[in-house]
Symmetry: D2
């Protein structure tokens, strides 16, 4: 629409198109969820219903954006893998990250109301998420990326499990528990849990130890290789299949399990 | 926290710090609000309650981020002016725009529930917003920026008012109304409204014609000039005053009204 | 060194580190070489000595920066391929492109004096080059990149050869020759050369038709695969070998010749 | 020119347009000039002829690019101020910095030959420069920028003068001189020069103490204010005047001398 002599101010806008032919990971991260979890009295160290809110919200984001092939999350963060050939919003970084930040936030809100009808969200403490996009030039990096996040989940969960056991069952103040854990390594924490509280960390629920993997399950045939050589009708058909593909949930090891990746060759296409 | 051999993948992350000493405008824009307004049956051409949801959400964002000095919005978009010295999130662009996108979205959700208790939001149509940041090196550009948005509000509202009058009072189909308006200029539309429907566009509500201005009203004294020369205690005091400053709402001309700007010298500091 | 209260102006500087693990192509391009070639009376359509100046300058750049594995050039442009693991100047884009622009310029100057001792360069027409860096996430793109440049060389050389033959042997003015060639395709130009002037384009020198390839010839052993797993002493040894490796010159097809690439697996490491 | 199926690789190129309406400073910096000065046996601490090469090269760059209003340099670096309204190369950062890097390099080469006909440059040690561009949103920052560089010149020159006096007149080894100067402040160095060698630093040549300022001297009338309101013919006339304006050389204080700036209002336009 024709506009005004003021329109020149648009010239100050800058776009950044993410490098083509690279995998895009968009990671969303809860803003101030420590206080959020206190405000709404989350179970410690893990609140299963709050995790369900997060997982359902992430699944909704994944349903909305069919370029997302898989996602991984724990606590208040989630990482979404967008396929290499993705041209969503012409790969404009600003558009991509703000839409993901917005979508995870409103979906969290929506599923919160479903999971916690007794705890309506207050305006003074709404669920907000930042987001960032990172591009990776090859799939080996993608595997290492998700391994990084799963190791992080493990480290945090072992710490939190031990910390909250010391507090809730060991009668320590948070400060005392914190001091006790300074300088400890994984085996020390396992030992504290086992010898003092009879807890075998390995028996903790997988969703806590491994986080949650959301996978758009395709078949080989649905994920034909060289998209750049397909006709536009073929592309539409694949796109449709991708949208209809079932999104499944897993809580399992993705670091050492080679088969996890090799059985899903479409991820790297 | 010490982590793993996978942590190197962080090296692929990129940050962009917005140029210091420039005004930052963050504009949020509703995603697919045409369909959103159909889904929830907005009044046409303007739904006053929906505008209130938007305005209250924008005011909440402004309360949350005290670096925002003023904001302007109409329809499903809002522009926030951040002061030149703003160091929020170290001026990291990604963090700024995703936090604004997230915050406007969840606040819209919150105030929607207050304004429209009879129309709960559906998961299939949640309110989402993208966001972008633009930096401007001088205040004259900021005035032109807001003039650009207010002219745009005017053009859109005159069009929409005429279009929906042709449909609702003139009995035209949307297609017929669209065709009738092709090639018309402002005076043509004014004439259609007046001669065919007895509507004087000038008498339409100011909130529709001018949009909404949110202003953090400071006093001269509260906005001392050279922040870089202040002690950190003085800075904290000013920051506190900024947070407490009342946010007022206006629906008035900001293009030709010189006094609008000159009476608020703190905006450009 | 401790400095002054003015040092804060450094905060306005911005760096851009090129994405790790991607191939970097730096392309330098002569500034105003049309006029340069007129000023110094180049032979038309190709001046062999001027090409040698360019080729020798490019080879000098390649000797200076051992991360350059190969280069391709014709006319007044050259493209340098930097290996995927290159960490020269920490992959800072500004530093890389300005150093390449500077180095090709002064080397051109140096070798000009060697090739054209009778035509000293004038201050009013010095040889200048711009430069740009492009990152490519996989090697298939690198092959297409060099194919793109070699096709471009072919198109330009066929045009120039025909154009200058029409002028020098056909007695046309440049304007007449230009008009005659409008709308012609490759076969038309071949036909003009052959039927009017008895010139078989295929017999033109390879350096004109194919451009020039500079190749740092390694052996398999010299280019061990996973550099990230090597000790720093091993890295130094490989770096030393790379520096000493002979740089060979070719004028051959790199588009359809599969063996050109497969026989040099180190290029993609 | 129509090209090939390979042309898609251009999509990986990225451009960065510098923010409009900001001052641009392009700083070029000699690469490895410590070794360069040893190779060509510069006088220590300052080689007047080498400084003249640098100054003449910088002046040539300034003549070539009429958007440069002033420049400041010392040793092997130079900073060029481009006017706020500059649209050279559409403000593309890559193009600007590589052209400046190339131009200063070849001009240095040219004037080296004039100043040092007895010392031809060797291929193994050519004069190379990197370059960077920085944008500044207001002129007060520009004054601080040049003050920063002049303070830096002063600090370096006082150090070098004392160091080389200790070596050449005091009979110290470089290592001994270095150790003697560790921890000394400006007054200590002045004292060493005066008490041990009878040298009053204030009497050192201004070109060494203050560096060199190149100024495109305009008149008020030649630099009319609001270029955006001028007709294109008026712009061409001003551009022509800017090109013809004399470039004068100064070695004076620009930090405390208010008049230096206020007498040249066109710099900030």
């Amino acid at each position: 629409m024709a506009n005004s002599r003021f329109e020149y101010v648009k010239q100050f806008e800058r776009e950044h198109h993410l490098l083509p032919d690279t995998y895009i990971v968009i990671r969303v991260d809860g803003k101030g969820f420590h206080k959020f979890s206190e405000e709404y009295k989350f179970d410690k160290p893990n609140d299963l219903r709050a995790l369900q809110v997060m997982n359902r919200a992430a699944q909704a984001v994944m349903s909305q954006f069919s370029d997302v092939l898989m996602a991984y999350g724990d606590s208040d963060e989630y990482s979404f893998l967008l396929r290499k050939q993705c041209s969503l919003y012409e790969r404009r970084e600003m558009k991509l990250i703000t839409m993901f930040a917005s979508s995870i936030s409103t979906n969290y809100y929506y599923y919160w109301n479903e999971e916690f009808p007794e705890k309506p969200l207050k305006q003074s403490r709404l669920p907000n998420f930042d987001a960032r996009a990172v591009t990776y030039p090859n799939f080996s990096l993608i595997r290492d990326y998700f391994s990084w996040r799963q190791v992080d989940c493990h480290i945090n969960n072992l710490y939190n499990t031990t910390f909250w056991t010391l507090v809730s069952k060991g009668g320590m103040t948070p400060k005392e528990a914190e001091n006790k854990l300074i300088g400890t390594v994984a085996s020390d924490k396992n030992e504290i849990l086992f010898s003092q509280f009879g807890i075998n960390y390995n028996n903790e629920p997988e969703i806590f130890k491994k986080g949650t993997i959301l996978m758009r399950e395709m078949t080989q045939e649905e994920s034909e290789v060289n998209e750049s050589e397909l006709s536009s009708r073929q592309k539409q058909r694949i796109e449709k299949k991708r949208k209809k593909a079932e999104i499944k949930t897993y809580h399992e090891d993705l670091i050492t399990n080679e088969n996890f990746w090799t059985s899903r060759p479409w991820l790297s296409l």
